[in-house]
Symmetry: C2
Subunit: 107 residues, 2 copies
DNA sequence: CGGTCATACTACGCTTGTCGTAGTATTAAT
DNA sequence: ATTAATACTACGACAAGCGTAGTATGACCG
């Protein structure tokens, strides 16, 4: 299991990556993170929803209300163009961070 | 340049890695981080010294006073056995985190 | 038809790590 | 004599994440 201390700073990247292809909502994103990480990272609900709020305030995502299969109302989030650019930046930053950290581990 | 948001969570790992072979002190660690990262990460002084305090409180490092070449008094830090174990844990955690994050980036 | 489980959130206050700013003091170089 | 580099310490602010709690709906099961 991964602790929040080390994944912190990549939650935005993870969430945005799951919105690249289609909009989604909290519970679904949460489940996807769990399964894609093979149960090694389970994001806390409060962390996720506060990330949504932050990302929306920064115009990286936008929300809309929609009704699911069984008449259930949900808040969906869609990535914006600005959000896609931010995602690409975060990917670059990740590559760089990875390289830097490995300089320290190797020796 | 790497932002603190993404390297946060790895400062302990970085600092400990630089103490593995011999004790060192604040200013030197700071310079080493700068050069080893090829100027891509410059740790803030306050961040570094508060990390020292935290790591010492947790018995991962221990401090002692010594005098440098030119009669300059400094606080040196030495990694403890507990600190070495913690370092190895952090390395494992890093490997895992790396793997997990890349699951999200790939697709 | 009543209870429990999974879903889908929101609110609130706390903790921790990092940051910004500021200040102190010593030695080295010009 | 002054400035730059070294070697720190103090203090308050801030942002992310956390723990706890609570609300509410629909699905499933006996």
């Amino acid at each position: 299991m991964i602790s929040s201390d080390v994944i912190r700073g990549y939650n935005d990247l993870i969430i945005l990556s799951l919105l690249l292809d289609q909009p989604s909502y909290g519970y679904d994103i949460s489940r996807q993170i769990r399964t894609i990480s093979e149960e090694r990272y389970v994001i806390k609900e409060t962390t996720l929803y506060s990330a949504f709020n932050r990302l929306e305030k920064q115009d990286h995502i936008e929300s809309f209300s929609a009704v699911g299969k069984h008449g259930r109302k949900r808040t969906y989030y869609r990535i914006t163009e600005k959000g896609r650019a931010y995602y690409r930046e975060k990917c670059d930053e990740w590559m760089l961070t990875k390289k830097v950290i490995e300089h320290f581990i190797k020796e």
